[in-house]
């Protein structure tokens, strides 16, 4: 099966091409089903490849490179369009195609009736293709191809409803912010090529041991800059909350489950380099991760948009993953990535279902009491909530616990930040659940305000949307079994990934920390209930949190103010100084000609005088300077 690894991205690509050509003819919903089928098929192939790889020995799992053709080859630079099928990439592929297929299916229901239905699936398939390229690429450039591809699809999908200015702006913002990160990615590539002479992961990781510390640090940190862009870390996270302008399946697939984890994936992929880098490199990553996690969790406390809460939550959880990466616990990062993909996709899809149900309302203050009206959505959402809150035995508990443990090994301060973040996470998720599903139904007023017509009663979603919710709920609940920390043999993921990312040895006792974490979660949930359900405590939702500490506004103000002014200055200088010099030269000629013209007075005596002066000058030269001196 390994030989057909190329089929994994090829199937969505085929889907893209078919929909490109015949999408309109297929129409709603056939195009959607077709797209789903392609990603589903890709999942099947992935499973096949996965099983094939499983059957091989651990040593033979890491160097399975399948080359399609030579892509960019100049001199010493050999870049093949090749796939690296190893435990890490296949893990990614499994959940990318798996969750991807579910979300495709979900989208068939969600996007039903949209005039650009087929185009949505066109982009979605293209995204799946790009994401798989990113994951499977055997060298940094193929990854970069996918990296930019997912960015482009993200752009296209965020601004899918481009008639809305905010959507268009958000799409652009996402792309450009990502590009800032891409700059880092490119620099990492350049450094790698310069130092190693190759962009192949196998070569780079093999040569990692021989790299100088400085080079390794440079590669690692530049790659991290790229990761920050893609995975929405401080200070580049800005685009992700805005990206919620896209249709909800997009948010679920791209901005929660898959694309945003690419940064984490990249860091794990080049973990050998990171391991030999200066010690401050991982520390920087860990600090940025922890800071982001905490910061975003704070912001999530005060959001009222159902998707914004999840968006900040995603930022926060990604911060967790980087905390893990920075702490050297790559397996934990991947583990959390997988579980996060399950529960966050679930939460987003649930949120989408809610939005769908309440007719495109996203403000939680205009929801409430939906648990009866949307039972499936409610039930699955609860699973997601408990998973993200870190309540055992839901999947989130296991993965988060792993990370906290690793953080403790790195530094107790980081652990403390992580713990507080976990508490906050539990709190704001509980707040969300209560605001959406409990309390009084506030959506009546909303609809009256809108002057709605007919029966606007919220309703449960169709099966295409419900089925993915249920599957994901199961995964979110049970996802933890892939890496249970009871004994070495139950740490299946760690074993599986060990040939690629190594193993993170920890001697710290696990149980006390697990208990502390659970306690934190429960405290968060409890406080939230006290505030929002029982209304015992007055909610504190400072504006500054809702405003994300004003960071976004400050950046916008900078861009619109000094940034734009400096751009204007360049444009001005171009027109007036550089082109001005050119025009000035022209004018100089014109003006001196105008002056000279006056001498050409038409009077013959003037001409004779000029001639006479010429004569005297010539004579003076010849007689005085050449003859006498």
């Amino acid at each position: 099966m390994l030989d057909v690894v190329w089929l994994i991205p090829a199937l969505p690509l085929a889907g893209f091409l078919v929909i490109l050509l015949f999408g309109r003819k297929m129409g709603d919903p056939k195009a959607g089903y077709f797209a789903t089928a392609m990603v589903g098929a890709s999942f099947v192939v992935t499973v096949g490849v996965f099983l094939d790889l499983m059957s091989r020995s651990a040593e033979a799992r890491t160097d399975q490179v399948k080359t399609l053709f030579s892509w960019v080859t100049v001199g010493s630079l050999h870049i093949d369009l090749a796939f690296l099928a190893d435990p890490l990439s296949l893990t990614m592929c499994l959940f990318v195609t798996g969750i991807g297929a579910l979300i495709h299916l979900y989208a068939v229901g969600y996007m039903h009736g949209d005039p650009r239905f087929s185009k949505f699936f066109l982009y979605l398939n293209l995204f799946a293709f790009s994401m798989l390229m990113l994951v499977l690429g055997s060298n940094m450039l193929v990854t970069f191809l996918g990296w930019e591809g997912v960015g482009t699809c993200s752009y296209l999908l965020i601004s899918f409803w481009h008639e809305r200015d905010s959507a268009a702006t958000a799409g652009k913002k996402a792309f450009i912010t990502n590009r800032v990160g891409d700059w880092g990615f490119m620099m990492a590539m350049f450094f790698a090529f310069w130092a190693v002479g190759s962009l192949d992961y196998l070569h780079i990781n093999e040569a990692a041991g021989t790299l100088s510390t400085t080079t390794a640090t440079a590669i690692a940190l530049f790659a991290f800059v790229g990761a920050c862009g893609k995975s929405a870390q401080l200070p580049l996270y800005l685009w992700l909350p805005d990206a919620m302008e896209g249709p909800t399946p997009v948010s679920a697939l791209i901005h929660a489950a898959t694309m945003v984890t690419a940064g984490v994936y990249l860091m794990c992929r080049i973990s050998p380099v990171l391991n030999v880098a200066s010690s401050y490199a991982p520390t920087v990553i860990a600090i940025v991760g922890a800071a982001t996690a905490f910061y975003a969790a704070m912001v999530a406390l005060a959001q009222n948009d159902i998707k914004k809460v999840l968006a900040y939550s995603t930022v926060s959880q990604l911060g967790y993953m980087f905390l893990a990466v920075g702490s050297g616990a790559y397996t934990a990062a991947i583990f959390h990535m997988v579980t996060h993909a399950f529960f966050k996709a679930l939460l987003f899809l649930g949120a989408g279902s809610v939005i769908h149900g309440v007719h495109n309302e996203q403000d939680m203050r205009r929801m409430g009491a939906l648990r009866k009206l949307m039972p499936i959505t409610f039930g699955t959402f609860i699973v997601g909530w408990l998973a993200i809150a870190g309540v055992p035995p839901f999947s989130g508990f296991w993965s988060k616990d792993d990370i906290l443990l690793a953080a403790w090994d790195k530094s107790p301060v980081l652990w403390a930040v992580g713990l507080v973040t976990a508490l906050l996470t539990a709190f704001y998720m509980t707040r969300q659940v209560i605001m959406v599903f409990y309390g009084e139904a506030r959506w009546h007023d909303a609809h009256e305000e809108h002057g709605a017509h007919g029966d606007m009663e919220p309703h449960e979603s169709p099966w295409t949307m419900a089925l993915p919710l249920i599957v994901l709920a199961v995964l979110a609940f049970a996802g933890g079994i892939i890496n249970l920390p009871f004994k070495a043999s139950t740490e299946r993921l760690a074993l599986w990934l060990e040939p690629v990312v190594g193993v993170h040895d920890s001697t710290t006792a696990k149980v006390p920390f697990a208990l502390i974490a659970v306690a934190g979660s429960l405290i968060g949930i409890g406080v939230a209930f006290a505030i929002y359900y029982y209304k015992r405590i007055k909610p504190v939702e400072p504006k500054i949190l809702a405003d994300a500490w004003g960071y976004d506004r400050a950046v916008s103000a900078f861009m619109g103010g000094p940034g734009r002014a400096s751009f204007d200055a360049v444009a001005w200088a171009d027109a007036n100084i550089i082109d001005g010099a050119v025009k000035g030269a022209g004018q100089l000629v014109q003006e001196s000609a105008g002056q000279a013209r006056k001498v050409q007075s038409g009077n013959v005596r003037n001409y004779a005088a000029a001639l006479g002066i010429g004569v005297v000058l010539l004579l003076a030269w010849f007689v005085v300077f050449r003859g006498m001196l």
Partner: protein, 191 residues
Amino acid sequence: MELFVFVVAGAMVLGGAVGVILSKHPVHAALSLILTLFGVAVLFVAQEANFLAAVQVIVYAGAIVVLFLFVIMLLGVDNSENLRIEPFKVQRPIAAVVGAGLFGLISAAAIVARGAKTGLQGSGLEVTGPDGSKLHDGNIKALARDLFSDHVLAFELTSVLLVIAVVGTVLLARKPRKGEQTVDTGAGALG
């Protein structure tokens, strides 16, 4: 003796020249010119160019100046010119500088180079008799000899020049035929 001639003739030459440029009336200018031409003729004699002196008087004073006077009379352009007015302020200072410069520089060159010798041997100003005696028409003969040997081409070319002068005057003097309109609107309708 030669100095005396030089001074007197020089005074004539320069006086006449100054007269030309300072007389308000063109007729006076023409008369002053005659004075200069005579002075030059005298100097020719002093320089052993007797024949040229005669030609100078006949051609210049006799023909050219008469032609000038003729045109002045013919056209009646004998109104005097007010020399006190100069529309171009810089014109006269420039004229002064140019005049002084020319004079000064060429004189300087003449003075500096006064001792210079050339490697060429002159052919002599006069033809002598077979016995080396001086002939009364030696200068004329020498001129004639030179004119028809070394300078024969130049001499022939003067004929072309004269033909041009003839054709030119014919062309210029031809009056516009009847009915022909002159185009004087200098505005250049399409300019």
